[in-house]
Every structure is written in C-alpha cells, then in structure tokens.
C-alpha cells in the first residue's frame, strides 16, 4: 500500500515583484526519497521552508504527514525533521550535548533524551566523537550530527535542504549512506540538490523545478529516457576509417548516424542496445579494423536537466 505523505497543490509565493513559487505541485509517497532538482533561485528552498511551516504561502494548499500545513502547523511540526542549508548544531556543545538539547526541546524526559542521543550517535557513526565539541568536527561529521538532530523523533518526513553542498567526496558519501538508511527504515525524505549525481543516486523520484514551477516529476531512469534512446558510439583509432565505421553503425542504427570529425567518432541511437553493440563489434572484427573505443552511451541526467532547463529559458525569452 502506498500512501502520500507529502502533497502540495498549486503552491504560490510572491516576494514583491517576483514569484518564488508559481503554481507548484509535488507529491511524495511514504518511505521514498523525492529530490527537488533545479538551478539556484528555482524555488527549492522556498518549497522546503513552506512545507516545514517556516514560511507562509499565498496560494494553494499542502499536506505533510496527513496534516494541513497552514491549519495544523503544530501537528506537522511533531512529524517532521528539518536540516537546513547551514548546519544548525551548536558548535560549542559536544555531539552528545547537542542531541540531548534537541531531545529536551522535543519534550523528551532527561533519561529518554540521553538514551535517544546514544542511539543516534551509534546510528550516525559518531560514537567515538560523542564527547568532543562539534566545532572540531569535519564537514561530513557536522552534517551527520545535524541529520541526527533532525531525527530525534524518527520523523515521518525529513526535509533536507542541500544536504551535501560544500562537503568533500567522503563527506557526501557519509551523508548519502545516512539518507539511504533512513528511507529504507520508512522515513519519507524530501531533499533539494543541484547535484545530478546525488539526485540520481538517492532519489526515487525527481522533480525538476525552475522559476517556481515543477517542470517534470519522474524517476531518474524515466528522466533519462525522456532524452531518447541509448547511443552506440565507435571512436576510430585512425580517422581514415571513419567512413567504414559510419557504414557499420548505420547498419544497426535506429535513427540518423552522426560523424564527429573532431572526436573521430561515429554514433547513432539504437533501440536494442546490446544486440546493436554485439553486431557492430562483430562487424568491426570481421573487417579487421582497429578502433580506439566502442560502447554504449546512456544519456546522463545532466543532459536531461540542461535540456529541460534550456526549454524553459527559451520560453522565458519569448
């Protein structure tokens, strides 16, 4: 059974002359990760701030964990966790003191807050650093502490606003693992990012947003599919072979075969990627040719993203 834990319909928010959100819709199913992907200023943070009851909105409606965010803000707040763009931990306090502090603010008893802090320190791999001041932590550790603080009540919905911005690769990996673990345990995660690899790796669905509107809402694979078929590409070892290679590729292509003289390559879209690759490779071998590379190229999320964003920018100019 799937239940919708986050649903926003036609959200609008204006700041003087500019519309931060302009008829924005999203929905997220329980236990899934929804990524809000878009360039800076697209409305990602505004969406998170509205859904976490921090910001009022002008039009539309939204429910989070089954409660209306405008009418039942307090009920919503009991069921969500928020990790904003900055790490909102108290750097003077130790990791443990931070978690106990937030536990107390969530009205846990002292004993329960300590117990929960211990659980979270284990869960987020901070046990060894538990009694050190947070100011000495690495970026990844601070982020994990921050995540732990928003997980005190094991919220139904966790909002993460650019959780890995500014982190080094190992820090990002730490945060990714933590987020995947949470979703696997049933928490619905809504995160914003402008890293495509992050969205690709973490999210069950991605909403591409720009100018305060949801352009596309799809799975990462679906987004890539929108870019069209996979492409077969052969890179020539000797540019003199390009004409022959063009013939080989064209024989298995399901569309126009393109030759890139600069890259010494020939490529074409293919519907049956594996069969096409095998056939092309066999043909290359049979003709006794040597090639630098032969392979399938999947459209990347970057391409899907740039194409979608590019479309709206063109619309904007008209």
């Amino acid at each position: 059974m799937t239940t919708t834990t986050v649903e926003a319909v036609n959200l609008g928010k204006r700041y003087k002359d500019t519309a931060a959100l302009d008829g924005f819709d999203i929905s997220a199913q329980a236990g899934t990760v929804l990524g809000l992907l878009g360039p800076n200023g697209a409305g990602k943070t505004t969406t998170v701030r509205i859904l976490t009851t921090l910001l009022r909105f002008d039009t539309g409606s939204a429910t989070v964990a089954g409660f209306d965010i405008a009418r039942d803000a307090r009920q919503v707040r009991r069921r969500i966790g928020l990790t904003g763009q900055q790490t909102a931990v108290d750097e003077v306090l130790t990791a443990r003191q931070n978690l106990v502090l937030f536990g107390r603010l969530f009205r846990l008893t002292k004993a329960r807050a300590r117990e929960r802090a211990d659980q979270l320190l284990d869960q987020f791999g901070l046990r060894d650093a538990a009694d050190r001041q947070a100011k000495g932590f690495s970026g990844g550790m601070k982020r994990r502490l921050d995540l732990a603080a928003s997980m005190i009540l094991a919220p139904q919905v966790l909002f993460l606003d650019e959780p890995t911005t500014g982190l080094d690769p190992s820090g990002r990996r730490e945060v990714w693992d933590a987020v995947s673990g949470l979703a696997a345990d049933g928490t619905t995660v809504v995160l914003t990012t402008h890293y495509l690899d992050e969205a690709d790796r973490l999210c069950d669905r991605i909403a591409v947003i720009d100018h305060g509107r949801n352009l596309v809402d799809d799975t990462p694979a679906g987004l890539k599919r929108r870019m069209g078929a996979d492409r077969l590409e052969i890179v020539a070892a000797d540019p003199a072979d390009l004409a022959v290679l063009h013939g080989i590729v064209a024989a298995v292509a399901d569309g126009e075969t393109a030759t890139d003289e600069g890259a010494s390559s020939v490529s074409a879209p293919v519907k049956e990627p594996v069969a096409a690759l095998t056939a092309a490779a066999t043909a290359v071998r049979d003709q006794g040719l040597t090639v630098a590379d032969i392979g399938l190229r999947r459209p990347t999320l970057d391409e899907a993203f740039l194409e979608l964003i590019g479309t709206t920018q063109k619309e904007g100019q008209q």
Partner: protein
C-alpha cells in the same frame, strides 16, 4: 517506529508548563556555553576593564567632575558610570547571539519544532540577564580592588545593582530586534557604532553640564545617564547632576526609561520574529 513529540494540554497551565520547560532548556544551553568557553566570557569583560584603567588612570587625573580639582574623587564618579556603560553595551552581545542563531539556521530548526518558538528569544533574554549579573559582579570586585567604595547601605547597594540589571533587561529587546534585523553576524559586529555614542554620550565619564549645550541635553536625557546618576545616589558617590528633569529625578528616570524601551522594542522584536515567516 515513529514517535511523536508530546503536546501540551490545551489549558493555560499546560501550555505554561511546556513554555517554561523550553525556556529552561535554552537557558541551560547558554550556561553550558559559559562553562565551556570561560575565555570568551573574560574577553567580553576585557572592554570595560580596559576602559576602567584608561579613564581612571590615564584621563582621570585631568578630570574635574566635582569642582574640587582635577582627579579628585574621579574613581568614585567613574565606577558607577562604568557599571552603567557595561549594561548599555550589553545589547550588542544579545544582537550578536541572535544574529548568529538566525544565520546558522538554529532559529529555523527551532521554529520547525513543536516547541514554544518564543523560547529562542525569551531564553536568550533570561540567559543574558544572568550573564549581565555575573559581569557586574566581576566589575564590582575590580572596582573594590582599585579603591572604589559604596557608601550606601546594603539594601541601597543591592538596589543600585537591581537598577543596572533593569536597564540591561530592557536593552535585551533592542538587541533581539537588531539581531533579527541585521543581515548576519558580520553586520551585528558593526552595531558597536551605535553602542559607542549611546554608552558614552552620557554622564558615564563626564557630567553633561561640562559638554556643549545641545550635546549636554542629549547626554542628560540619555537612559544610561539616568541609571548612572541614580546608582551614584544610591552608592553615595559624587553625583554632579545638572538641572534637567532626569538628572534631578534620576531614580525615577532610571525606573521609567527601561519601561519605555521595553514598551517600544518588545513589540518590535516580537513582530520581527513573527515576520520571519513572511
């Protein structure tokens, strides 16, 4: 597996209980800061201490505030001024702390939690008042060390310190408001540009009567002057008051000014806090 935060009973008493609980938690956090960063606390006191040494030992010998000659009784005149000035400058600490909490997302996190969101502000207020009491106590010991004495009774002396904290308490709202207004911590640091004239264009170091007429009038009506003059009276230190109403009724003025400041800046701070959701 999801747990829910308990909600207060929908009674006034139930809500009050939770609100007080939240205030206590935030105040506790402030004290952990104090405990873990005693050096920061001492640095914050560094400024008034340097001012004491500067005014008492460097300029003091040239100051004739009592009309009995340069340097006479200057320690007795300047120390109460020092106490008042430390209270006056205190709002910059508040503003800085609030700006930092806002910039770092601490305010947002707390606002997204089912707690009394006023705890950020009120907890700050209570913590700052207690902080100021400790500041005053340390300054008091330094004052005794350099030869200042209170000639008032025990209760008059205690009353003087209460008046000082009363001013600090009112100025916390100014600090909270400014802390929410400024763009970030960096801008909060610039608030000293306001604090300086506010603290110094007063009777803290020199009687307003000795200043040019218009400046003297401003200084005489400055809330900091009222507090400084009132506590001088209570301590039995030289007063050197002019003829203006607040100087003649310093005690009354020292009680009323903080009420006026609170009446203006408490609503401004609350409104600013609510408008964070705009």
């Amino acid at each position: 597996m999801n747990t829910l935060a308990p909600l207060p009973d929908e009674t006034l008493a139930g809500r009050l209980k939770w609100t007080l609980h939240d205030y206590r938690t935030i105040v506790g956090q402030e004290f952990t800061h104090l405990w873990r960063q005693p050096v920061n606390f001492l640095w914050a006191l560094g400024f008034p201490i340097v001012m004491v040494l500067l005014f008492v030992y460097v300029f003091g010998s040239a100051m004739d505030v009592t009309g009995e000659g340069a340097g006479v009784d200057y320690v007795a005149y300047a120390m109460p001024g020092m106490f008042a000035m430390t209270m006056a400058f205190g709002f910059t600490n508040t503003a800085w702390a609030v700006a930092e909490a806002k910039e770092k997302g601490f305010v947002d996190r707390v606002r997204s939690m089912p707690m009394a969101s006023s705890a950020v502000v009120v907890g700050r207020n209570i913590a700052d008042t207690i902080h100021a009491a400790i500041d005053l106590f340390v300054l008091f010991l330094i004052a005794l060390a350099i030869g200042w004495r209170s000639d008032g009774t025990f209760w008059e002396t205690l009353g003087a310190f209460a008046i000082l904290l009363w001013l600090r308490f009112a100025l916390i709202w100014v600090g909270v408001w400014l802390g929410l207004m400024v763009k970030g911590v960096e801008q909060a640091g610039n608030l000293f540009a306001i604090a300086f004239p506010f603290g110094m264009v007063s009777s803290v170091f020199t009687p307003p009567e000795l200043m040019p007429g218009w400046l003297g009038a401003i200084a005489a009506w400055n809330p900091v002057s009222a507090t400084a003059t009132a506590i001088r009276e209570l301590f039995g230190n030289p007063v050197a008051a002019g003829n203006s109403w607040p100087e003649q009724h310093a005690l009354m003025a020292a009680l009323i000014w903080p009420v006026i400041i609170t009446a203006i800046f408490l609503p401004l701070a609350v409104r600013r806090f609510r408008n964070l959701g705009r």
